[in-house]
């Protein structure tokens, strides 16, 4: 059983007259990437702010590495690093000078460590430029450097891919996975994009309208979204003929849409079934262009369904 390093229990928070967070509870473990998923206005940022002590809480407990934020703030903060909302640093200082600021506020950080994190986030060559000259993505990277500077046990990043280019997103994913899986850090990433979560998270906690809907491993999430079946889309020379060619395979269901064939395959032995479908279409001398798993789209749909927000009003 991995160590629980972030524990949130029955967190409630009211801002102004609005009750924003309702009994939020979840645990995050050392060595995992935990996705914190929810639509706009769900309360992700608010929860994160509570976790790092930026805002007070009405009730509940939050402990980081065994220390409660509201009781031992300094002890808890020594073990957490993070970015909340936009990565805003001192614009009149360089990235390195900014990191030196944070180094003086944390314990035991050497010059070498600063060089190291600058290299990790890929800013080593531009470290002595003022932040005011940085692009949004570069600022995001500097923010990540700030967050991992003191090798925290828990790393909390609020929408860290904001502003990053595709290569940057991939790099960040790799950095975070490395930190979690190789160095045992508990990485918590918030996002409103399911697709992003899939690519890096081990577990996903879903929040909507200030309530936790559940915490799932990635597999659980996929299974739940597909139920018993996986769905494939087949593009070939003649969909009608292909449908006939595979009609004898048991358990599958095929429908014709446009010129394509959509097939639902039972999860049990899906791989064998699909290779059989492949073979039979090819044997029927129908040109086969591609076979696509439709789970991605379905997962996104499942998320929208779960959070009850189909592009509707923000709750």
């Amino acid at each position: 059983m991995p160590e629980t390093v972030l524990k949130i229990e029955n967190l409630n928070k009211t801002l102004g007259k609005r009750h924003i967070l309702h009994d939020i509870s979840f645990d995050a473990y050392a060595g995992e990437v935990f996705g914190f998923l929810g639509p706009n206005g769900a309360g992700k940022t608010t929860t994160i702010k509570c976790a790092v002590g930026l805002i007070s809480i009405d009730s509940g407990t939050i402990s980081i590495g065994g220390r409660e934020v509201s009781e031992d703030f300094e002890g808890a903060m020594a073990q957490v690093g993070g970015i909340v909302e936009n990565p805003e640093m001192y614009k009149f200082l360089t990235a390195r000078q900014n990191l030196e600021q944070y180094a003086r506020m944390r314990d035991g950080i050497t010059k070498e460590r600063i060089d190291e994190v600058l290299k990790i986030v890929g800013l080593a060559n531009r470290a002595d430029e003022k932040i005011s000259k940085y692009s949004l993505g570069m600022r995001q990277r500097a923010g990540v450097a700030q967050a991992i500077l003191h090798k925290p046990k828990v790393l909390i990043l609020d929408e860290p891919t904001n502003g990053l280019d595709p290569a940057g997103i991939k790099e960040l994913r790799d950095i975070l996975k490395h930190l979690a899986h190789e160095e045992g850090v508990c990485v918590i990433v918030s996002s409103h994009l399911m697709s992003e979560m899939e690519l890096m998270c081990d577990r996903v906690g879903i929040i909507a309208q200030g309530k936790m809907l559940g915490v799932y491993t990635l597999e659980e999430l996929m299974n739940s979204s597909n139920g018993e079946n996986e769905r494939y889309l087949i593009r070939c020379g003649d969909a009608q003929k292909a449908m006939e060619a595979i009609a004898d395979i048991e358990g599958i269901e095929s429908t014709l849409s446009d010129d394509q064939l959509e097939i639902s395959v039972p999860i049990e032995g899906a791989k064998e079934t699909i290779s059989r479908i492949n073979r039979q279409i090819v044997l029927a001398e129908i040109p086969l262009y591609e076979v696509n798993l439709l789970e991605k789209k379905k997962l996104e749909e499942a998320f929208i369904e779960m959070t009850g927000n189909g592009g509707d009003q923000i709750g």
């Binding site: 930026l54 703030f73 300094e74 808890a76 600021q101 944070y102 506020m105 923010g143």
Partner: protein, 461 residues
């Protein structure tokens, strides 16, 4: 402790990297230089008193000519005597001589002696004058002076201090001015009835006596522009030097500190609020340092920055004053007697003390703006409110007091924060004491700081 030092270091780095801070420091220096420059210019406007009557007239040719033409024998005899003896108005013999000739004034020393003695002493005076016998003269008048005045005569005789034949000459003995003034004040004191005036004369005598006994040729007290003007145009006892020195500018320079008060509002008003307006507050508070420590480090930064600026003003003013007027009297002492108590400190130290007293005002303004800064999220709002309070507060209090006679405004901070002025008696509130002012200041400071603390440590970011 180490943590706090590191936080303060952070604040200083941030401040010094901001262009506004550098501009503020440069402005502070420029204003100090400019202030001294203005004093220098105005001394050029005022004629240097030392230059008047440098070689006083001893021929009396005009007066003798007039007397001849008018057939005025008394005047003729009078001026001829002065002319023959070569006695100018700047000569110690002038007083006994004119007294002997029957023109003595009751206000002069010789006149006083003559009017208070039963016998006719004109002959004795005439002899002393002709023989330039100052020892004889002072020995003679000593017992005839009021009790209190005698000390000056004794001191002169004991120390063998010859009076000047030309008190305006370069090699005139500074002690003569002090001894003469001592006598003058003693005589005046014996004549006035107001207790206040008696104390004033007594204080002036004590100061003169202290300087003579401790051989202090130059007194820093009374050298400021306002003091010099007062001495020139009003008949008030004020020990002063009659020449312009670096002290003319330097003793007036503590008022520059008010400007530091204005500038510190900019630093104090933005030090917390700017973290909010720039969004950097989140990265600042996500560190293992409590909000209390962060706030304290910011306050320490504001206060020490104010101190640095005051010291900068002090040093720049000292150097500019020295360069413009010469460093000749830099080592002079400040001697002043108030209500019978004589204090003497090196002039530089005294002025530094004045800067520090003015610094209380800077402290109050800084703390006020700091509290505002911790309450609002916009630095321009905090700075604006701070400057508004600073410029309007005092005027409003003055107006309420003077135009509407509302005395209760004496409890406001604006009536009390300038303790340097209160210490030197420049206040419109009767009986305002330093102690009272300090209590009012302390209460306000506590309120400001608690407000800042509460606002900053509990607020949602």
């Amino acid at each position: 402790m180490g943590k706090l030092t590191a936080l303060v270091k952070n604040e200083y780095i941030k401040q010094l990297k901001k262009r506004s801070t550098i501009i503020i420091l440069i402005l502070t220096a420029i204003v100090s230089v400019g202030f001294t420059g203005i004093v220098k210019l105005s001394t050029l406007e005022m004629s240097d008193p030392e230059l008047d009557d440098h070689t006083p007239d001893t021929s009396y040719s005009v007066e003798i000519e007039d007397a001849r033409r008018n057939g005025d024998d008394t005047s003729l005899e009078y001026y001829t005597f002065l002319s023959e003896q070569g006695i100018s108005t700047a000569d110690w013999r002038y007083d006994p001589a004119v007294t002997a000739l029957g023109e003595g004034s009751f206000d002069s020393v010789a006149g006083y002696v003559q009017k208070n003695s039963s016998e006719d002493i004109s002959g004795r005076f005439r002899d002393f004058v002709i023989n330039k016998d100052w020892k004889g003269y002072y020995g003679f008048i000593k017992d005839k002076l009021p009790e209190e005045a005698r000390w000056a005569v004794e001191f002169r005789l004991e120390n063998d201090i010859a009076p000047d034949e030309n008190m305006y000459s370069e090699d005139a003995d500074w002690r003569n001015v002090q001894l003469d003034q001592y006598l003058q004040y003693a005589l005046k004191k014996s004549k006035v009835s107001s207790e206040q005036m008696k104390t004033n004369y007594d204080d002036a005598m004590k100061t003169a006596r202290y300087r003579l006994e401790h051989d202090i040729a130059f007194n820093v007290a009374g050298t400021s522009m306002t003091d010099m003007e007062r001495v020139m145009y009003e008949d008030e006892p004020m020990p002063t030097s009659n020449k312009f020195t670096m002290w003319t500018a330097f003793t007036t320079s503590p008022s520059v500190v008010s400007f530091v008060g204005l500038l510190i509002i900019i630093i104090a008003g933005s030090i917390v609020a700017s973290e909010f307006s720039n969004g950097t507050i989140k990265f600042l508070l996500i560190n293992p340092r409590s909000r209390g420590k962060i706030l304290i480090s910011k306050y320490i930064t504001v206060i020490t920055a104010g101190l640095v600026m005051i010291v900068l003003c002090f040093i720049v003013s000292l150097l500019t004053a020295g360069l413009m007027f010469g460093f000749g009297e830099a080592g002079a002492t400040y001697v002043k007697t108030t209500a019978g108590e004589t204090t003497a400190v090196p002039g530089i130290l005294y002025i530094f003390g004045q800067y520090m007293l003015k610094g209380v005002y800077v402290l109050v303004m800084a703390t006020f703006s700091f509290a505002l800064s911790s309450l609002v999220k916009s630095s321009s709002l905090a700075i604006g409110l701070g400057i508004f309070a600073m410029t309007m507060g005092e005027s409003v209090v003055m107006m309420l007091k003077q135009a509407f006679g509302i005395d209760a405004v004496r409890y406001t901070i604006f009536a009390n924060y300038d303790i340097q002025s209160i210490a030197s008696g420049q206040t419109i509130f009767a009986g305002q004491t330093i102690g009272f002012a300090l209590i009012i200041i302390a209460i306000h400071m506590v309120v400001f700081l608690l407000t800042a603390w509460d606002g900053f440590t509990r607020r949602d970011v």
